[in-house]
């Protein structure tokens, strides 16, 4: 652009993209330290396989009328597992509705997740990860919560970080920008993990925004934005770990855009063949994260057929047992719809609660 007198460039930007293992399972450069430990890689692999097994079972339960509408994370396992494996237990996860893998990693039981997606009020809580948030069904309105939590963590003084996961379409919303802006202005210990799976139901990311990357949306808020190959669990873990470390040291917020692909329908209530080409989906299967890490492990001589079979069997058994426990759950008492509404039920609502209790036998 020709520069005229009086005109000057006052800002330029660039966005870094990180990948450790390519789609064929080859290291593209020196790997992060943790990747030298087979147990670490095997744990990441197990996390992804468990997540995929969980997704498959959830969809099967839905198809047979045993679960409500469900949002599968097929193809995105590396994002959930990569980010969760980088977090410390005392960090706080604020997920959107497709991070089952992160919740499982952090100790939420598959049985508890089934209960929630199955529509049981009691599935709204879980026994582990007690400071973590429930999934946010409203898109992006949980991002302001993350900066509120991050402020609380900052005030508390311990080096803990809030991690908020949202989708590509979520970055079109105002509350996302409002939260990002505060994170910058107050240098809050928060990581925004934008899971760019290229689709917001039927709208591709190119029609969601003209921005070349979603990571650059961070720059206007004065925070760092970085891209990572979201099908590369090693890279996701490494980049999120870097962002967490920076936040712990008082360096403020980071937006991490993880590039992945939603291989399945938006939810079990959706039929993606109405709006996207099956050729696109088939091509994307060549980049998916589970096969990628398996290829890497196998090529390194770190993974045998026996180990693979044992792992699949173990994950299958764990998820089947969880599904069985879910199916065996006795019905919730009718009063469950009132019992956690307020710390103490206001007198004005007692009559309604009594009515519901009476109707229990309906």
């Amino acid at each position: 652009m020709a520069r005229q007198p009086g005109h000057s460039i006052v800002a330029r930007f660039s966005i870094e993209a990180v990948r450790c293992i390519d789609a064929a399972g080859r290291a593209v450069g020196p790997l992060p330290g943790f990747a030298a430990d087979k147990r670490e890689l095997a744990a990441l692999y197990r996390g992804m396989v468990l997540t995929r097994t969980f997704d498959q079972k959830a969809v099967a339960l839905q198809r047979t009328g045993q679960l409500g509408t469900y949002a599968s994370s097929l193809g995105q396992e590396a994002v959930a597992v990569g980010l969760a494996s980088a977090m410390r237990p005392e960090d706080v996860l604020l997920p959107s509705f497709r991070e089952h893998g992160a919740q499982l990693w952090r100790g939420v039981a598959a049985e508890e997740l089934f209960r929630y997606w199955g529509g049981d009020e009691r599935g709204s809580d879980f026994a582990a990860a007690r400071a973590d948030w429930p999934v946010s069904i409203p898109v992006a309105s949980h991002v302001p919560h993350a900066v509120g939590v991050a402020w609380a963590l900052q005030l508390g003084g311990a080096p803990r970080v809030a991690v908020c996961v949202l989708g590509d379409a979520a970055t079109s919303k105002g509350d996302f920008y409002e939260a990002l802006n505060l994170a910058g202005a107050w240098a809050l210990p928060v990581v925004f993990l934008v899971c760019n799976n290229r689709w917001g139901i039927s709208v591709p990311v190119e029609r969601q925004t003209a921005a070349g990357t979603l990571a650059q949306k961070a720059l206007a808020a004065g925070i760092e934005g970085i891209q990572v190959d979201g099908n590369d669990v090693v890279a996701v873990r490494e980049v999120v770990a870097g962002a967490l470390d920076k936040a712990r040291r008082g360096g403020g917020a980071t937006l991490v855009e993880a590039l992945t692909y939603r291989l399945g329908d938006h939810t079990t209530a959706d039929d993606a063949s109405r709006y996207r080409d099956s050729a696109e989906v088939s091509a994307r299967w060549h980049e998916e994260p589970v096969a990628r890490l398996r290829a890497f492990l196998t090529a390194q001589g770190l993974w045998s057929k026996d180990e693979e079979e044992a792992l699949l069997g173990e994950c299958h058994a764990a998820i089947e047992a969880a599904a069985e426990a879910y199916r065996a759950t006795p019905p919730a008492p009718p009063t469950a719809i009132f019992d956690s509404l307020f710390a103490t039920l206001p007198a004005a609502l007692e009559a309604q609660r009594r009515e519901v209790a009476r109707r229990g036998g309906d």
Binding site: V92, L94, E121, R122, S124, D125, R130, A131, W133, P134, S136, P138, S141, H142, V143, P144, H145, A146, V147, G148, V149, A150, W151, A152, L153, L155, G156, A162, G174, D175, E178, A179, N181, L182, A185, S340, L341, F342, A343, T344, P346, A347, A348, L349
Partner: protein, 328 residues
């Protein structure tokens, strides 16, 4: 303890100061609340006394203010956030309805949301457009939150303290028309008033006047005028719209047999309709006349020169009572 003649806005400040002093986890924030002390001065002096850790200016960002309140509350603090004018609270409704009112239920009590969202509300101060709104009924329909409206300095003090100490979310609507219009003795003794309780401000036998916020004053004026005509009116300040103190309301209507409900918000689906419905459901046979409503019209809040047409006043209220008395 010294009683000091105090205005409503000063009472709000006293309660905020008391809460900040008694509880380390109380945080006050919002637009222009710190250095400037709030555009109505409700937070004046708090920044100087408690510092930026506790009293903080936020970006101009209403959805954020409500949303970060949910986050910081669930993480162990007691946020008392200000929305500068109720007209700008609409973006916060998303957070109130989708999250604040649901978080405890959504986690079976694991996470909770002890937040207060304060907002000056209502007309009568010749403010620019969008600065005189009252849509309390929209808020009162949200499950899991309380909506509280003080109508005097003493009730502002006691109810705000109660709201801050309450373990669940409270929207606290401050009738800015009477921020400075009346003074009364307020004892800064830290005593809270009960939430979910209506206040009988004047006893009477002929008719019950029900209101909240700035309209309470007009009801009291109407009751005084009607007393000169030999009519004895009971005046109830609902104070807590949710949860509604039905018992106090019904006891009064059963005694008087006549009721006039007053609100400055538009008529259609206003909170007065809920009051009338409760009476119809539970006290119909005590009524000697239809329940009357004196309300704003179903139009947008007028610009200042005509806003007096929208706002009920003592004259309209008294006329409604006389009309009610004509049923024999």
């Amino acid at each position: 303890m010294a009683e000091t003649e105090t205005s409503l806005v000063e009472a709000v400040r006293l309660a905020l100061r008391r809460a900040l002093a008694e509880d380390e986890t109380v945080l006050v924030f919002g637009e222009d609340v710190a250095r400037n002390g709030g555009v109505f001065r409700a937070t004046e002096g708090l920044f100087a006394e408690f510092g930026e850790r506790r009293v903080r200016d936020t970006p101009l960002s209403e959805a954020l203010i409500a949303g970060m309140s949910v986050g910081v509350a669930a993480a162990g603090f007691r946020p008392v956030a200000e929305i500068q004018f109720m007209g700008f609270l609409y973006p916060a409704i998303d957070q109130l309805a989708n999250h604040a009112g649901r978080l405890r239920n959504r986690t079976r009590g694991r996470l909770s949301c002890p937040m207060v969202l304060r907002a000056p509300y209502g007309g009568g101060v010749h403010a620019p457009e969008h600065h005189s709104e009252s849509f309390e009924a929209m808020l009162a329909q949200i499950p899991g939150i309380r909506v509280v409206v003080p109508s005097s300095p003493a009730r502002a003090y006691g109810l705000l303290l109660a709201a801050i100490r309450d373990p669940d979310p409270v929207v606290f609507l401050e009738p800015k028309r009477i921020y400075r219009a009346l003074r009364e003795p307020v004892v800064d003794d830290g005593a809270a008033l009960p939430l979910d309780r209506a206040f009988v401000l004047r006893e009477g036998d002929d008719a019950t006047l029900v209101a909240w916020g700035a309209m309470v004053r007009d009801c009291l004026a109407a009751a005084a005028a009607l007393a000169a005509e030999g009519l004895s009116c009971e005046v109830i300040d609902l104070a807590s719209l949710s949860q509604l103190d039905e018992a106090t309301l019904l006891a009064s209507v059963e005694k008087t047999g006549r009721c006039v409900v007053v609100q400055e918000a538009p008529r259609h689906c206003g909170f007065a309709a809920e009051v009338a419905a409760r009476i119809a459901e539970r006290a119909l046979l005590s009524l000697q006349a239809p329940v009357a409503r004196v309300t704003g019209y179903d139009t947008v809040m007028p610009l200042p020169k005509l806003e007096h047409l929208q706002l009920p006043d003592a004259g309209r209220i008294a006329a409604a009572v006389r009309e009610t008395m004509s049923y024999r």
